[in-house]
Symmetry: C2
Subunit: 232 residues, 2 copies
């Protein structure tokens, strides 16, 4: 099944401002929307909640939404030790070829022509080999990153995982080496001959942010909404 794909690991210096391009990170279409800028990639990753994890099982693709966190140039994903993708990332085998994609939809683009309808979006696609984290310290750092990714500052304000929970949780790491971002911004790009058509053209922005926090039914009455949620 999962072939261990020989990945071209680019010889980039950690301090370089951009990821090196590889055959599979250069799009065949809309190449002008692609970017390899580290800061942009990090910002898109850090703004997301779920990624879509792709892997191959019995020759067929599987795409599952899952939580993640980032520490520097490493993505961490976690799940039950019993889950299928995580069972497939043990240290004994060569790891699991994965593709992790994070996408934000920012607005709906309405053009005069059906053909030029689109969405404004920002996405990051990461290719690589995922491996289980076995070092206990790295595993704890990764779990903190996963919780802090949901709400920054939250890991310090919750009970850390105990030994039993740590044993039940598998963490996999994916190095950010073969990475690209793709973004679309701006209004509708109609053909010049369509500009006089009587149809409205523009962008319908999607609302972002949070609604009022909802306390658990079993929460003690004297526990207030924490300050890190008030600004959320």
């Amino acid at each position: 099944m999962e072939t261990a794909v020989p990945v071209t690991v680019p010889g980039q210096s950690p301090g370089s401002a951009a990821y090196e391009k590889t055959g599979r990170t250069v799009p065949t279409r809309s190449a002008e929307r692609a970017s390899y800028d580290r800061e942009l990639v990090h910002a898109i990753l850090d703004e997301g909640y779920l990624c879509h994890l792709g892997f191959v099982r019995d020759g067929a693709p599987v795409v599952l939404p899952t939580l993640y966190g980032r520490v520097g140039e490493v993505l961490y994903l976690h799940g039950s030790t019993g889950s299928r993708p995580l069972r497939m990332t043990g240290q004994a085998d060569p790891g699991l070829a994965v593709c992790v994609t994070v996408t934000h939809v920012d607005g709906l683009v309405l053009a005069r022509s059906a053909f030029h309808h689109s969405v404004n979006y920002r996405s990051v696609v990461v290719h690589g080999i995922a491996r289980q984290v076995t070092d206990p310290e790295e595993k704890c750092r990764a779990l903190d990153a996963l919780v802090d990714h949901v709400v920054p500052g939250r890991a310090a304000d919750s009970r850390p995982a105990d030994r039993k929970e740590l044993a039940a949780t598998a963490v996999i790491r994916l190095d950010l080496t073969e990475v690209s971002a793709k973004t679309r911004t701006g209004g509708a790009n109609d053909d010049p001959e369509d500009l006089g058509l009587p149809h409205w053209a523009g962008v319908l922005p999607l609302r972002k942010g949070y609604d009022t926090p909802v306390a658990n039914a079993d929460l003690a009455a004297d526990i207030a909404v924490p300050s890190y949620l008030k600004g959320a």
Copy 2:
């Protein structure tokens, strides 16, 4: 590359209320969150803007965000005839094994324990073989569905694709036969012994909806925002 996977096509009657389970639509974990209800699946699909399309290239998984539309029990995806996945779905070969996943994040779940942090979400995963649409009438219906999926009613208020645009656009279809939904709702599920901990627990709901439409800079001043956007 893509092995043509023998798909178990369930012998379900079109009128049945649920999709039949198959080996790959029954999760190994959190099976209580899985559903095969057609109405729920349709609602989750119809609320999304982008799906994540997974396929296998050179033995490795690829996951790309892309637009889609639904007509009954068929998903339509489109793209340039030059794009990689669409070139791989020609009629001459056995089609392309794909996995299409649509996910909504509804809220962030903060538990007293790091371990029980989660997100409330609704997702649909579709497995199957994607094939190019060659029938011109079906292709036009599919493109209307793609535009109406972005904003319902919009296909009728835009210039339809002309012959050249139709030729440049490839549409693929994926039958909704091997389908499952997965949802998480509600508050944090802490262990009983953690309920007395001093950490806030509850849900931070994500804001949904739209902001004010932004007209294109080149839009004629006498074209008002259409009524189907005012309620958006």
